[in-house]
Amino acid sequence: MRQMMTVARQAARELMRGWWVASYGLFFMLLAWALFAFGERPAQAVVSVLDLVLLVIPFVSIVVGVLSFYNSREFAELLLAQPVARSTVFFGQYLGLSVSLAAAFTVGLGAPFAWYGWSTRDQAGTLLVLLLAGIFLTFIFVAFAFAIAVRTENRLKALGAAIFLWLFLALVYDGLLLAVIMAFSAYPLEKPLLGLCVLNPLDVARILILLRLDVAALMGYTGAVFKQFFGSTLGLGLAGACLAAWVALPVLAGVNAYARRDF
């Protein structure tokens, strides 16, 4: 544990040296501030940043994840020659990166939102869901990045695979959902759709946030079914479990491959 934290701290430090973790946080901060400066109310601002949260966080997390994995591989040899378990080095580097990115996002987006009138409990709850979703997405996509990079010698190939995965989850998956909806429009689809959405962490995050906002009313009967599901403790637990599983699965796949590979 102590060794892991040491590795994590070092990985975070290595990352902070680059200007871009700070600019990543700054990007969210400027964005949120601009929205408020143009007079958007917090609920509208959430809708406006939603797209960005859903596109930018996964993309940055997975790309930076792959690149930083290859960067750290160079001195991984130094670490692995020390009396440290490989899983410790892996988890340490994973945590160092995920926590840095998540912190940059949380502070960057959270500060302006907290500053501008999140007065009521309900609004604070929405902000919390937004931040939690972003944090989960960061952890999930860094895990994807590591799982890919561990198995791939060529960093360009790994980058390609990462971007493909991101495209698939961010765009293609929802396209397939639409195809399913169109093909089976004669059947009651709400429950199968619920299942399919839960399988994609980006859809889970998007819907969890949408349901907190009043645009959920536009979602009609489908929305009502979703709201009932995600409103229940069971549903919320299941959604949380799904997100957690999306962190755990690639992390385990990654650490497994990391423990077996040669350096």
Binding site: Q44, V47, L50, D51, L54, L55, A170, L171, V172, Y173, D174, G175, L177, L178, I181, M182, S185, L189, E190, L193, C197, D203, R206, I207, L210, D214, V215, A217, L218, M219, G220, Y221, T222, G223, A224, F226
Partner: protein
Amino acid sequence: MSMGRWLLGLIFPLFVMLALFAPSDATAGTQPAAPQGQAQRPTLVVCPTCEVKRLVDALREAPTGGRIVVQSGLYVEGEIVVDKPVEIVGQGWPVIDGAGKNQVLTVKADDVSISGLVIRNSAKSYLADLAGLRVEAARRCVIEGNRLIDNFFGIYLAASEDCVVRDNQVYGNATSEAFSGNGIHLWNSHHITLERNYVTGHRDGLYFEFLHASAVRHNVSEKNVRYGLHTMYSADNYYQSNLLRANLAGVVLMYSKRLRVIDNRFEDNWGAACYGALLKDLDDSELADNLFFHNSVALYAEDANRNFLTKNRFYNNGFAVRIMANADSNAFSGNVFEANAFDVTTNSSTQSANSFNGNYWDDYRGYDLDHDGIGDVPFWPVRLFGLLLEEYPAAIVLLRSPFAELLDTAEEAIPVLTPRNLADEKPLIARPSWSKSRVLKNASVQ
């Protein structure tokens, strides 16, 4: 609202009243004092400690055209029928209580005036439209400044004409749509003036069926279990400056024609299947200068034809306009579309016989090289995702998905599916200034 409109709002009803009640003089204010000119009228006073203790007794004794002053107290007298022209004036809010057993007050004569009463607890029934105050086949009635509390129907006018219903407050306790009555219900009547009433907690706040040539102004109808203002089989009515808030639908106009709906505000009709204005089989009508704010669907039009929709402001709605393919020859111009999730959706990808011209769209990205204030390229307000939604409602799970945005972007570049002729050929470049002031005004309301 402009000063001029305020003045009109005051002067016009006065004028109408003077015209209608010139011989019997007018009553003014919610608690009428004894106006001059009525001294010569025979007046009966009713109170629990008076000689006449019951309103029914007073009605029996009162001469035609007489005046009954009801002083404060509780009057539980069964169904009270007013069958001769009299003026009933409450002083100190006397309570006429139906005790949940019957209709409370029924007017069956012409030239009856009722004011200053609290009318409450009518019976409820699945079979009969029982009301707190019912007017049947009467002319020239004046219902003014009363409070109707917890009645099945509040004020119910049937087959009446030339009546004024003004400054009443109608509070219902309806919880279900199936077992509730309307706040102010006008049936088979004409030349009715309905103004400055407040209605809440009923099925439909204001319900009109076979209503003709009537004016409905400055009313507030909110938080009813169904609609704010519901019109069926009516024509030639004028709805102006009403506030319809937080109902399932603001106005529902069905099977009617030649209605003018001007300067009303429809807001917070928000939830699954909620509408600002729902038009079905509405023909030859005009909706102008209205504000649609924060409605799930601001304006829904089905089989509605030849209507003019002018200078309305659609702000922060889910769907601003949902217009079905069977709606024909409706003209949208000078409207402002701002901050809506969807500006226009329709269920047909082929053709639309409605025109959009000279509206302002906040999504418009065109340019204006000749600086005439009109965009040089048309604006197509129907998004592909919106079109898909009409056909596949379950696709709403993709709301705000990057994929949905991608679809719209692609469709914008290479249009295939969205109706090409549903276009605004002359989109405004700048938001018309008259609507700017209204934003501020309405923002302060919420």
